[in-house]
């Protein structure tokens, strides 16, 4: 076992949080050096579910590898698929039909809401409040039902293929989504009443785990983690893909940099996603849901990089092609990996209970970190 920093000091206690621990929501292993209740050092040990997806993809064709990526960040699997499809489309210069673009964005935003819902419930549970988890799942279930109806799956949808989506949306899709929006809006006030406005919750979150804007950029934080520190990092705004530049939505920014800011970013982001869905749900253009593509996809020789905004931050897909049917090298720049690297920086000096809150607000999904 590697020596954790500071472990040699007299009076320090080293505890292993994970790989099996209720707070890590997966198989993350943290070696924590404690001085009493105060954290001296946090050392992540990864690899418990490293499946080497990058290596796997080297032997899969451009149609196949997309499905593996659903297993990276399983909470925004749809957005992962989207990123891969965009990269292949960029390489082959496939024009995606307008209908497919709108469907993709609708699915992306539904996924984002579902992911943030799960995060909200799980984070409240980390702080010791169990009830919000079930309330979050009430809404998340209805999104999963919509997904199931159209994609046939609830978690790893694998709905996006290069050139469009796999099949057309279910005839009932629009009604279901509208019903969900109505239900969601009638319930959203419960979130503020139950968690956001709670004095204990605010005391646990405010001025905890402060991450400055400079550090957020330097550590490569993206997504809500960076936006909580006031760093504009929404790929949908900065480098728009699909038709995001035609949509009316705001990039959510909070300037506190503490856990509460990160929390508020995600809460407000759900509202923005609702806004996007509302703009699109009645205006799904008619037409093909998939572009005509060749049976065997071959990317030209070269390098292709796409960035998309997942629920956790910036996902980069970097494909190096030699002109064959399989990628020569593929790299997924996962948001969770960089976001995790900041944990030691923000956790040092705070209490053990706060570490759990910080991990909650960083929204770590372990398969995304390990890949």
């Amino acid at each position: 076992m590697v020596e954790a920093l500071g472990s040699t000091q007299e009076g320090n206690l080293i505890i292993n949080v994970g790989p099996q621990h209720p707070a890590t929501h997966g198989v993350l292993h943290l070696v924590i050096t404690l001085n009493g209740e105060t954290i001296v050092h946090v050392e992540p040990h990864l690899g418990y579910i490293h499946r080497s997806i990058e290596k796997m993809c080297e032997s899969l064709t451009y149609r196949q590898f997309i499905y593996v990526t659903s297993r990276m960040d399983y909470l925004s699997s749809h957005i992962n698929n989207h990123a891969c499809a965009l990269t292949v489309e960029k390489g082959m210069q496939i024009e995606v039909p307008a209908r497919a673009q709108v469907i993709r964005i609708l699915m992306d935003e539904l996924t984002r809401i579902a992911s943030h819902e799960l995060w909200w419930g799980a984070m409240a549970m980390d702080l010791g409040a169990f009830t919000p988890f079930f309330h979050a799942f009430r809404e998340r279930e209805s999104i999963n039902d919509i997904m199931e109806e159209t994609c046939g799956a609830r978690l790893t949808m694998n709905y996006i293929v290069p050139g469009g989506v796999m099949q057309d949306i279910h005839p009932n899709f629009q009604n279901r989504v509208k019903a969900f929006l109505k239900m969601y809006k009638s319930k959203i006030h419960e979130y503020d009443e139950m968690v956001t406005g709670n004095i204990i919750f605010q005391n646990r979150m405010k001025n905890i785990g402060v991450l400055s804007a400079e550090d957020a950029i330097s550590y490569g934080c993206t997504g809500p983690t960076a936006r909580g520190s006031g760093v504009s990092s929404d790929i949908r705004k900065i480098y728009p893909y699909e038709i995001y530049n035609q949509l009316d939505f705001d990039e959510v920014l909070e300037h506190g940099g503490d856990s509460f800011s990160r929390y508020m970013v995600r809460i407000r982001e759900m509202q923005e996603s609702i806004k996007i869905i509302e703009q699109l749900i009645d205006h799904i253009p008619e037409g093909d849901f998939q572009a005509k593509t060749k049976a065997v996809l071959k990317l030209p020789k070269g390098e292709f990089y796409t960035r998309v905004e997942t629920a956790r931050g910036e996902l980069g897909v970097y494909i190096v092609s030699e002109g064959g049917t399989t990628p020569y090298r593929i790299k997924f720049r996962s948001p969770g990996f960089s976001n995790l690297s900041v944990l030691n920086h923000i956790a040092r000096g705070s209490k053990l209970g706060d570490l759990v809150a910080m991990m909650g607000t960083l929204d770590l999904v372990i398969p995304d970190i390990d890949r």
Binding site: E37, L127, G128, A129, F130, N203, K351, G353
Partner: protein, 358 residues
Amino acid sequence: MWSLQKIANTIHEWLNTTFNSTIATTIEMVIAGVAVITLFALLGLVLVLMERRIAAWMQIRLGPNRVGPQGLLQSMADTIKLLVKEGLTPNGADKFLFNLAPFIAMIVAMLLMAPIAFAKDFQLWDLNIGVLYISSVSSIMVISILMAGWSSNNKYSLMGAMRSGAQIVSYELSAGLAILTIIVPIGSLQFSEIVQSQVNGWWIFKGHIPAIIAFVIFMIAVTAETNRAPFDLAEAESELTAGFHTEYSGMKFALFFLSEYVNVFIVCAVGATLFLGGWMPFHIGHWESFNHMMDYIPSSVWFFGKTFALIFLIMWFRWTFPRLRIDQLLNLEWKYLLPISMFNLLLMTALAILGWYF
């Protein structure tokens, strides 16, 4: 009218006429012991089920509803499961203390039942320092938790135990001061006299603002003292997996679990006795006919109704609030609750001297 008091008196008379007084007292003690153990088990079963159903109700789900009618036998099934489970003792543990700790927890919970007045003249031991007895015996609980945490030879357990030690010792102060606030106008620590003093109204109404403040402080402090959320730092499962009982399994774990629930019952019973009149029906001053009507409801119903209302309150806390951090927890006690309850005690003393309560 049927009452617990009559049953108790009948048994007492019959025993004394059949046997000589020594044997009769011995048999009475055995009966009392069996009754306490039965109540202990029964309370555990009922409260666990109650907690699960309340949690389910607050979390928009159904809760246990498969075993028996309406899931009533669920906690029975759980008990059987826990009984047949292997009670592991870790290799590195201090075996004697490790196995002793759950029993201390259980014995403390049982001892606390002695002075509780369950109904009119239905009490095991009406000693003249009843409230003092309760607050001092309940302090032994912390020893069992420290013992469990230390002997488990587990860092999580140790941290949980240390947290619990700091927490219980601090919150006992406020709980004690809140109790004292009510004791001042009564002038007695005896449970029967405390209940009798509320014959013309419960203390929460008679004692004006100081009594209400004391009640709120008492409820917060006992929630902390029984290690219940939002003060469940000793077993904070998202931080310390299960805190001091991480290494326990089977029936040894169940004893901790049961004693937690029985402690909740006891502190709520004490709260009900001090602030809500114990078994005393709802009386208003000199409204004789109203008071007389209220007396038709049996005193045991009043007692258990009040106690379970308070238990519901504590369960409500648990399923609503997030957990505090250890420094916030101690801040709350030492910087807010303790000064407030000290001031409150002075206020009540002044009221008692001036006779400004009903």
